[in-house]
Amino acid sequence: MAITLNHYLVLSAALFTIGLYGALAKRNAVTILMCLELMFNAANIAFVALTRAVAPQVLTGQVFALFVITVAAAEVAVGLAIVLAVYRQRRTIDATEIDLLKW
C-alpha cells in the first residue's frame, strides 16, 4: 500500500492528540513542556507533508516549519528557565501546586 498524504496527516493528528493529553493531564511542569514540544512537532509534520503535496515549487510549509522550530527553541528555553525559577521559590514544579495567581 502506497503512503499518501493522508497517512502523514493521520500521524500528525495522533501525535498532536497524545501531546495534548499529556499537557492537560500531567502534574510535572517539565513533562508539560515536553508534551508542548510533541504538539509543535505534530504541526510540523502537517506543514511538511502538505507543502510537498500542495506547494512543492516554493516549499512554504518547510519555511514555516523552520520558523516553528526556532520559536519552539525560544519557548523551551524561557519555559524551562521559568520552571527553574519557580522551583527555586516554591521547591515544587507540580503544576497543580503552583497556584499563586489562583483566586
Binding site: T17, T31, L38, N41, Q57, V63, L66, I93, D94
Partner: protein, 165 residues
C-alpha cells in the same frame, strides 16, 4: 525517490511507530528520565519521517535542534528540579483529558480523511536546500530577521529569569 516502493511503506510504519511510541512513553511513562529519553526517540522518528517526505534539511535540523539541544535542556531541567523521585504523576484531569483527546482525534480524522486536498502543483525540487535558502532570504527575509531578534530576546530572558539572585 518513488513513493510506491514497499521499502518506503515499511520505513513509514517503522518511523511512525517510533514517533508515536516515544510520545506515548513521554505521557504514560512513570519515570521522568525515561520520559526524556522517549522524547529523544520520538524526535529521531520524526527526523526519519522528514527524510521520507524528502525534507532533508529539516531532518538534519530536527536531529540537531530537537534531539540535540532541546532534549539536553529538558534533561538539565529534570536534574536541577530534583522531582525525579516523585515520578511522572497524573493530575485530576486524567479522565476528562483522555475523553477530550479521543474526541479531538476522532474529529481530526473525520476532517482529514474527508477533505479532498489540492495536489500535484508541479514537480518537487531536486535540491531543497537552495530552494529553502531562496525562500528564506527572498520573500521571508523580514520574518527571518525577527526570528533572530526573538532568539536573542529569549536567550537574555532565560538568563535573567533563571539566574541566582
Amino acid at each position: 525517490m518513488n513513493t510506491n516502493e514497499p521499502a518506503v511503506t515499511i520505513a513509514f510504519y517503522v518511523f511512525s511507530a517510533l514517533t508515536l511510541g516515544g510520545a506515548a512513553g513521554v505521557v504514560f511513562g512513570r519515570n521522568m528520565f525515561h520520559a526524556a529519553l522517549f522524547l529523544v526517540a520520538s524526535f529521531f522518528g520524526l527526523a526519519g519521517i522528514y527524510v521520507l517526505l524528502q525534507a532533508d534539511f529539516l531532518a538534519v535540523v530536527q536531529v540537531l535542534i530537537y534531539a540535540g539541544a532541546i532534549s539536553i535542556l529538558v534533561v538539565f531541567a529534570i536534574m536541577l528540579t530534583r522531582q525525579v523521585e516523585r515520578g511522572n504523576e497524573w493530575n485530576q484531569l486524567r479522565g476528562p483529558g483522555l475523553l477530550l483527546g479521543v474526541l479531538l482525534l476522532l474529529g481530526l480524522l473525520f476532517v482529514l480523511t474527508g477533505t479532498q486536498w489540492y495536489t500535484g502543483m508541479g514537480p518537487y525540487p531536486a535540491d531543497t536546500v537552495s530552494t529553502l535558502a531562496r525562500q528564506i532570504f527572498g520573500p521571508w527575509v523580514l520574518p527571518f530577521e525577527v526570528a533572530s531578534v526573538l532568539l536573542l530576546a529569549a536567550l537574555v530572558g532565560a538568563i535573567i529569569i533563571a539566574r541566582e539572585e
